[in-house]
Symmetry: D2
Subunit: 284 residues, 4 copies
């Protein structure tokens, strides 16, 4: 399969943006495969994702980088350039519930997630056999109130050693410190087992059950210092009725959580998600 | 079409309930058309809806009433007996946005809602021609902070004169007083333009837009003294993306509101909804 | 509100397309509001929709037309240029079932459909009062096997006199002749009360009921000479169960038909739909 | 957890059915947990599912069986009595695609499927490690046109030895002979990777892609001698757009297939599905 480049950028909206980018790509003989853009008129911001085939492209990666830098400065762009050969390196964090982990590992195995998964970190030991089955190193790092800082240091060292780009919290039930979060801005994806902002915090299914809602949901979002308040990447809901007991909600919730988290992870590693203003643009 | 009876009841769960009711109906030669029941084990409560054909039934309405009273007392039942010939009488309240009103009137006209609509009440005058087109008396009762109590008295008098069973707030933008609500326990249905409890109160679409959610919703519920906190009858959601501006949310919201409100109203007038513990059982 | 231009085009995929278009717009000082594009690698075809503000644009409509013609020839483009001030002129055809008509007229009235509706044509007379309520000329043209050709001639004359751009078959139960269809290539939208291609032809709800499906659907499509085989614009489904009788399917189907048809019509008049190879690209 | 009994029955609709059953259960001190019933007025058939706690029940299983037989004969009932302690024994058949198998095994492991899975049968060898990971015997039985009859005999022997109640075809790509199907009436569940009856037979995703549909679906059904024509248990769909290539349809289809098959299997083993007239009643 040929090598693709993906350029993801945002900047203040202004005339000439698309013309400049399209002209740059055309002059260098890019075969554009996908291009998508968006303007948010409220905040005057422009967003773009463009993907092209590198086969006949005139520039190597270094020259390409320099070329983009040139017009990026002119337009005050924030940008990220990725190549399909450079697969994102993803660490999965998990606690006792392993349904999201199982789902992510299977999707990875059958080629749905174009990333490498160099390690799994858990504060429980239960997922070790599953990690072994998939041939992925498993690190059991227990966390208590006393050991939390040390545990996070150990986690960060492991992430660093494994050159991890993205941390996926697959029902990891520990709250990360601002120090940890600060190491991965827009680089930690969480699944919240609720339709945010309906039931923030703990036990959302119990609270949904008590409130008698007719739909339950799940939300995947980037982690920020504000608990459950980061930019939402994806959400979905499932219908429930008076016949559904708390157990049924939890079971249906598992399916929602798997689906919603795996979509968010796939879109992130395909460089489709641009966070801004505590929201996201998700190019489809 | 033959006359049907619908018995809707709830009581503490106990043995012999179904046997007693089924035996009573069988002895009196009921041809049962639908029967559904539910137990909430958490609160130890039993709920039932049974519908039968009155054609060959042995008892007239008075004797039937007496018969039910007999075993209802024994089991401490709360119950309501209805006949298809006795169409519920529904008043629709509306303010400036008329999409729910249009939808309800059309569904009524084409036979989807088996009720009578003796009047429409509005604090605006805009819906008068629509009411006239459908041949329904329209009452324009403006409401200000000063006139609110008097306006409600006028409304209550009209409802009383028209023997109204159900009040539907079809985007009626005034908060009803406890006095008003007290006249219609479990008899006022509201549409809240939001997925409750996500964005209680005013301007939910603006707040959903600001929060960057990926789904918007609507909720229909019985009105209680706690604003937006009454038993939920129905909810639904619609998918949105970064491309949807506030106007798009409002437009999509209109479709949600129509759909969700009309379902709640239909189920109520078909005697399918049993509120309890600030929730509802909705027999389908 | 400022005037917008929308350019919708398709052509064989080739390098330099976007650069040429973006450069043309930039040189003429276009403020681009939305741009979306698509490549179908299977057939080697490129599709684009671009919308910009005409306020500060350097060219008037005639010069713009000439400018586009220039590069369109070079790239073998098929294209259509529209301006928001030039509202599409839509004729609605209806037979006995009026739910889609009611829905379209209300959406038109509240501003969701940016088009003019100069006339309604029906082979029944039932919708006349509704047309009158909305102030739209209503033409009752009965159709029998004998009069069909004459009726179509009369219809075509009316469409011509009213400079109609789009014909919407809102549950119009007559099959149009190839002659009629030939006058409006990609200009007639039908609602088929079924999830195509599941139950082509007549009585799809009856057949869905007999087959015991768990979902029913509706499909809107452009009309071609092959009955029910034209390019699909939109589809949706609704869940049903063993409790739903044929009447329930028909009632739920009405809601589906309204929703699906109105989406297709809105997208068409917003110049979002590009038919090709018996499919459609729908830019969102 | 206490032992539950589930009685699933169907018979010609007639008066006194519910009274007789309810009275029988009450006299024997049943604590009813769930009861649901349905009448199909078109075919004059009655369906019922009732579940009760055996803890204080007056009859043992033999006496219960005799008691039901007594009134079943009177009403010409077809019935099946099950106890939660007697977990259904399920064989899974799989070919090359293992996503449904992975999903079923994980749901089984985490307690969502209250059945035993004594064996997995495949005409490929790829799923062997997965079976081993879950500790389930795996039988590789290749099938060619020549060996098909012998292979089926071998399969039937294995099913017999393992006292299998239900065969789940989890993307098993061989057509079963009428002889095989005849051994398991209403006891083989298949997943068809399509919204039946839209694209019967092979390559439905390719054909959906070619037709340009806007939704793809999956269908689980009981297997009969008519290929793809058996009673439908569950269906679901997913939205697609012009951006989805064939690969995307297949990927989305995998999620649909998993979801739809696992629901059908769960409902079957919970004794919620009653097939009749090439349809199903699914009690929720």
């Amino acid at each position: 399969m040929s090598q693709h480049a993906v350029l993801l950028l945002s900047c203040p909206d202004q005339k000439g943006l698309v013309a400049t980018i399209a002209d740059f790509l055309y002059r260098n003989n890019a075969n554009i495969l996908h291009a998508d853009q968006h303007q948010d008129a409220n905040v005057g911001q422009f967003f773009m994702r463009v993907e092209w085939d590198m086969t006949d492209f005139a520039l190597d990666q270094v020259a390409l980088d320099a070329g983009i830098s040139h017009f990026a400065e002119q337009f005050q762009m924030q940008w990220r350039l990725s190549f399909t050969a450079d697969r994102p390196r993803v660490a999965i964090f998990v606690s006792g519930y392993d349904h999201c982990l199982v789902d992510l590992l299977y999707r990875h195995q059958c080629g749905e997630l174009a990333c490498d998964i160099p390690l799994i970190i858990s504060n429980h030991s239960g997922a070790a056999p599953l990690a072994e089955f998939h041939g992925i190193p498993f690190h059991h790092i227990p966390v208590t109130a006393e050991t939390k800082a040390a545990a996070e240091s150990k986690q960060l060292t492991l992430l660093d050693e494994n050159r991890v780009d993205l941390v996926v919290l697959a029902r990891y039930m520990q709250i990360l410190s601002p120090r940890f979060v600060g190491h991965y801005p827009d680089g930690i994806i969480n699944i919240h087992h609720s339709f945010l902002p309906a039931f923030l915090g703990a036990n959302p299914y119990q609270r949904a059950f008590d409130r008698g809602v007719k739909l339950i949901g799940a939300t995947s979002h980037y982690v920020t210092d504000e608990l459950d308040e980061g930019p939402i990447i994806e959400q979905d809901v499932m219908r429930i009725s008076h016949r559904d007991q708390l157990d049924d909600l939890i079971q249906k919730g598992r399916d929602l959580e798997k689906t919603v988290l795996s979509r968010a992870v796939r879109w992130h590693i395909q460089h489709r998600v641009l966070p801004y203003a505590n929201k996201t643009v998700v190019f489809d």
